[in-house]
């Protein structure tokens, strides 16, 4: 009873007779609280159509983006559980045994090679693939005639809209090797292969890679990485320049004039006028690029690799795919999970650094 009274003292007051009564402000506060929740309920009810419109998208994402994530649990399970018959929910828990096998076991060398390849391909993609569209946008800014620029842009955007199958086919064909290496090692070389051999006639390594198999340079360990990056730039470079070009043409012409009057040359104009104004766009695009760093497009890698260039071209995703096809699901899941988790940490880290450094953040 004493406790109750003490509690009541907090929000009730007493009149002269010692009876409790509720002060007016408290009544108003209670009422306000009630109306607030009423309002919330009312808005929810009034906007039910809005929530209904959201439902199909949520269901689609839940079913085919979030449901697969539940399967990640089987990275910690034993897929050879007796009686489970491929049903991952019946597997026994296994602890970190799969990861132990992945990092230190018999197949660890394959995993680490694939992990290194993923990282190298992604890193080169960032190093060469990121600055290229910016340079392209700066160059487009120099073309003052609208018609000329439109024609050039139509050509440059085109590869982005072609399918990966077609792009890789054309690349393999242009860099292809001989028709039949056992008959004549120099008959039927691809056009660019011929060109490269003419430019570097004494390059032993190039000659051997080009003439060893019909797959040619793309299917060779030495040149796969370079050709993968070139095909990436060729495919995305023009299209990615759209965003940067929009930022570059947004620079006011008066800024250029002012710089010119102050005697700035072209390089100085670039350094002090253009660069500061496109910086925020560059940072945003860089964060996005870092975010996709470890999710190297597996479709293209899959299409550009064969057993002859696995040393340079096998990435974690395609390795997991192979393991899955060989019936080793849990190892594949463990490998890709490691890769994707590191990728996610990179996005969050990149975003945090960008937020600190430039006040521009994406998420």
């Amino acid at each position: 009873m004493q406790l109750f009274k003490l509690k009541c003292d907090d929000f009730l007051e007493r009149d002269a007779d010692g009876n409790y009564y509720m002060p007016a402000e408290q009544q108003v506060r209670d009422e306000a609280e009630k109306t607030h929740w009423k309002e919330v309920g009312f808005t929810l009810l009034k906007d039910w159509r809005l929530y209904l419109m959201l439902v199909p998208m949520i269901i689609v994402y839940l079913l085919w983006r979030y449901m697969p994530m539940t399967e990640l649990l089987s990275a910690f399970k034993d897929q050879n559980t007796p009686g489970a018959a491929g049903d991952s929910s019946m597997y026994d828990w296994y602890g970190l045994t799969n990861f132990d096998a992945l990092f230190f076991g018999a197949q660890s060398s394959m995993f680490w090679a694939a992990f290194k390849n993923t990282f190298v391909i992604a890193f080169y993609g960032l190093l060469f693939g990121f600055p290229f569209p910016i340079i392209l946008a700066l160059f487009f800014n120099e073309v003052k005639s609208n018609i000329t620029r439109s024609i050039l842009q139509v050509c440059v955007y085109l590869p982005k809209f072609m399918s990966t199958v077609i792009i890789t086919t054309l690349f393999i064909v242009l860099f292809r090797g001989p028709l039949d290496p056992t008959v004549n090692a120099e008959e039927g070389l691809g056009l660019v292969t011929q060109l490269l051999l003419a430019i570097f006639p004494n390059n032993e390594q190039l000659y051997n890679a080009a003439t060893s198999s019909t797959g040619g340079l793309v299917m060779s360990n030495e040149y796969f990485r370079a050709l993968y990056q070139i095909s990436g730039i060729w495919e995305h470079g023009g299209y990615d320049s759209i965003v940067f070009f929009a930022a570059v043409i947004a620079v006011s012409p008066t800024s250029y004039e002012a710089a010119q009057i102050d005697g700035a040359g072209k390089m100085q104009q670039m350094r002090y006028v253009v660069l500061p104004s496109i910086l925020s766009t560059v940072v945003i695009m860089l964060i996005m690029k870092v975010g996709t760093l470890l999710s190297v497009g597996y479709e293209k890698v899959y299409l550009m690799t064969s057993p002859t260039n696995y040393d340079a071209g096998r990435i974690v995703s395609t390795l997991a795919n192979e393991w899955q096809q060989a019936g080793n699901n849990t190892m594949g899941i463990a490998a890709e999970m490691t890769n994707n988790l590191i990728g996610m940490i990179l996005v969050i880290g990149a975003n945090a650094i960008a937020r600190k450094a430039t006040d521009v953040a994406l998420y």
Binding site: L50, M53, L54, M57, L63, R65, V165
Partner: protein, 319 residues
């Protein structure tokens, strides 16, 4: 008063033009090469002599492609999957983006995070494969009771249409475009008694045509070009393959370009016809197929080109 051009500016201009022209030529050259090679004679194609114009002339490559039924079946499959798949994706993306663009939507932040998280982290190939397999089994049970994913009675195209091709980036693009529509117009429509759906279809969609066209184009192109999952999920049904899977399979089987062709896999035996393998190279057939597969995209590309430049710039990722 016109200022004289600085020497550094002139040099930069020359470099820009040279670089852009070379890069533009590089971007379209492979397609010109494919067209020329598809018309060239076998010796020139296999000997690597085709550079710009066809060397010799034959139309047998196209005759071969045109008489190959399974190629056109796969072509029709792709058209069907691209069309219905884009419609399906656009439907739920437009409705979802509209809801997300409303400031009054409760839990808007959480819903946005729900979407964006799929861009950060994906489960990976193996879990997705298992998930698609389950989906396929369920769909098979619905469309043809008693069957599973691998059976021929059920059409695997529906799995590709329904379960694949979502893209959080496109939702964000559309959401930002919808946020740009002035609220007064919506209010005016509401006073006239419009429901939520009417506001979306009669006000928002007409007012953000450029972005809608861009997003539809992105969905359509990713559908048209999709390869990997169709290849993985449709192994039992060659008659449901999209054209990309068919082309790659043709190259793998017959051309010897990537791996040596197996026994009895001579491409010219595939249809009872009279094709002269002395004048027609298998690579010419591949090029003819490639050209046939890119023609629809080349046809719509010039018309939509101006839209997507606009659409991409309007719907930046900023929030």
């Amino acid at each position: 008063m016109k200022r004289r051009m600085e020497i550094s500016e002139l040099i930069f201009k020359i470099i820009s033009y040279a670089f852009l022209i070379i890069f533009a030529v590089m971007c379209i050259y492979p397609f010109i090469y494919a067209i020329s090679s598809s018309f060239s004679l076998a010796d020139a194609v296999d000997g690597g002599e085709v550079i710009l114009w066809p060397v010799g002339f034959q139309t047998d490559a196209y005759r071969y492609v045109f008489t190959r039924n399974i190629f056109w079946i796969s072509y029709a499959n792709t058209l069907f999957m691209a069309f219905v798949g884009t419609l399906w994706c656009m439907l739920y993306t437009m409705m979802g983006a509209y809801a997300l663009s409303k400031k009054r939507l409760m839990g808007r932040k959480a819903f946005n995070f729900f979407l964006v998280f799929t861009m950060w982290f994906s489960a990976g190939i193996v879990p997705m494969y298992l998930n698609y397999l389950d989906t396929g089994n369920i769909l098979a049970g619905i469309l043809a009771p008693g069957t599973t994913h691998g059976d021929a009675q059920y059409d695997q195209k529906w799995l590709v249409i329904i379960a694949m091709g979502m893209n959080a980036q496109n939702v964000i693009l559309l959401r930002n475009a919808f946020e740009g529509v002035p609220a007064e117009i919506e209010e005016a429509a509401r006073i006239d008694g419009a429901t939520e759906m009417q506001v979306l279809f009669k006000v928002y969609i007409p007012m953000s045509k450029a972005t809608i066209a861009t997003v539809a184009l992105f969905f359509g192109i990713s559908r048209w070009n999709g390869y990997f999952w169709a290849m993985r999920m449709m192994t039992q049904q060659p008659f449901s393959w999209p054209v990309q899977v068919y082309i790659r399979n043709f190259i793998d089987l017959y051309s010897g370009l990537i791996s040596a062709p197996g026994e009895g896999n001579e491409w010219f035996n595939q249809i009872p016809g009279n094709f002269d393998i002395n004048t027609l190279s298998v690579m010419s057939v591949v090029y003819a197929m490639v050209i046939c597969a890119v023609i629809p995209i080349l046809c719509i590309y010039p018309f939509i080109q101006k839209y997507f430049a606009k659409g991409v710039n309007m719907g930046g990722v900023k929030e």
